[in-house]
Symmetry: C2
Subunit: 334 residues, 2 copies
């Protein structure tokens, strides 16, 4: 959708390139090509070093970490002058990367997609994906990413998010967990998590995944703040089912809810392959209606399922039968 209808030599382009964890092996073909076809490469000095082999002979603009908006302004200036610019982000260009600040600067400058300067975003594996791959399979269930940096975000916003996802049992990746100046944020994150999660919840501290100085440490929630954590670290906190075994951190997908794992994959009583769990939406709606009809109040049901009372009331107000009888398609899932 951001492709140029026609490109001439005089029309510049900004390519927002996510280079993945930093080793050339884990860069996409498009990321390599985008850097290859660029005239100008702009990025944080550390990321520029990671792609040093690919940028010989190009104009290189190195910026410090605080200069995201400057990087975007420089990219626009170069592109307006007809250059093809590769703006380098580590991981994915969209995840706390240069894609957002660049669009903010472009819009501020009156740019629209009809502008001669075209924009392309090249996705890559973000730190959460790279770190997960190095520690096992921690992301097999719902997860989220939270940056602990309060340089642009008020602390109450960050704290509210930590509290919410700790309560709702997400696997959580903490980006920017700690820096020379910011040392208490990780302590506060731990405090908020310990309100909801067991002290022995597995935590992986991953530094520089796939880079020369990679270091992986497994710990637990109650000890996480004491670990060696810095700006190149991602902290992965497991959910209540995550376990560490033989040096691997794994979050079960939930097959044990449906299958007897030690009995040749037979389904549990009341469960069917390719169908929702008996405790899935329709089964739950039926159970809810029955319990309500039998006299359980909305407040009792809200407490039982740890869900808001007005949500319980709203679902009870809709007929279950009609929706459960929806025509079934041919698609199937696990």
């Amino acid at each position: 959708m951001t492709e140029a209808p026609l490109t001439t030599a005089s029309h510049g382009k900004i390519m927002l390139v996510g280079i993945g964890p930093g080793s050339v092996d884990h860069m996409t073909q498009r990321a390599r090509e985008a850097i290859a076809e660029s005239d100008t490469v702009i990025g944080y000095v550390t990321y520029i070093k990671l792609v040093a082999d690919l940028i010989e002979g190009k104009e290189v603009i190195r910026k410090s970490m605080t200069e995201e908006l400057d990087r975007a302004v420089s990219a626009l200036e170069a592109a307006r002058a007809g250059k093809k610019v590769a703006l380098i982000s580590s991981g994915d260009a969209g995840v706390y990367g240069m894609a957002g600040p660049t669009y903010e600067v472009l819009f501020q400058a009156g740019w629209t997609p009809d502008d001669p300067v075209k924009v392309e975003i090249v996705p890559g594996a973000s730190a959460i994906n790279s770190c997960a791959a190095r520690v096992g399979a921690p992301l097999t269930h719902d997860f989220c990413a939270i940056s602990l940096s309060d340089l642009l975000t008020p602390w109450p916003v960050i704290a509210r998010r930590l509290d919410a996802v700790a309560y709702a049992d997400f696997v959580v990746a903490l980006y920017n967990p700690k820096s020379g100046r910011r040392t208490r944020q990780i302590v506060e994150a731990q405090r908020l998590f310990l309100r909801h999660r067991r002290a022995d919840t597995p935590v992986a501290i991953v530094k520089s995944a796939y880079r020369r100085r990679e270091r992986i440490e497994f710990t637990t929630l109650d000890r996480m703040a004491e670990c060696d954590i810095g700006m190149l670290t991602t902290v992965l906190i497991g959910n209540s089912n995550t376990f560490v075994r033989d040096g691997l951190m794994v979050t079960p997908r939930g097959y044990a809810n449906k299958y007897q794992m030690d009995n040749d994959g037979a389904t549990r009583d009341g469960e069917k392959p390719g169908r929702s769990l008996s405790t899935g939406l329709n089964g739950w709606l039926e159970a809810l209606s029955e319990a309500h009809a039998a006299g359980d109040s909305v407040a009792t049901l809200a407490e039982r399922y740890r869900l808001p009372a007005d949500y319980i009331a709203a679902t009870l107000a809709e007929p279950v039968e009609v929706l459960a009888a929806e025509p079934s398609g041919e698609e199937s899932e696990s």
Copy 2:
């Protein structure tokens, strides 16, 4: 850490390969190499088709979508027989992909990392990254991924997560939002989100990003459930700051909290580049202490900042000064 100390021809290997969105351009070099060096390729039929060009002459085992555990068992059998096996996942192998089920099956079979059969996980851009790249820059702030599939997860668990992240203002990607049989889950997700978010919150419906039949639709939270959504769709729900402009969905990083965006990047009163916001952790702790000293109760402060009262009480119990005076390092951030 899962590298073999030595590899002989008779020792099998399982490579869990995330192929990215599906176009060869967005596959990593290591993903291509892993497929190239494999003897046997195992995957869901749709994903096998996406890498058809790379698997000529190899044994190919196509499985249906319900057969994740079967795929892992087949991979282990082939690896035990000395084969190099590429287990294909779309996106990232760790995100609702084959990495988790494979480790579950391996552990069940008594496998350990010392086993002759070695395991490698090859990360890739997940659907959240690919879809984000196609719509603009929606992931520039904290985000999470939630699967609406209740085939392995009880609905109350999913509902609790939706409620928590809607409240805490995350950007949210819904995976597996709808299938032939599961049609009400997206309606319930919408209901939960509308309890906390504005009806006009931007939503992007992205189908088959970077594939031949890519389709992108922008809508709003109150209309999202009416859209054409299926198993190849990812639904991206913006946070309270996300906007759509000129066909691009962008979540601001928060530069406007610190800088005067229309005034040559001057900082706002009381803010410094490279330092925490005045409303960051230390500034907030100071404000909290002052307000408490001036007579505001813990309950009042909890309500003001929408944070748990016991968290407010715990932070008030720790001295601010000592922590604010931590030695500052040389690192800097935006």
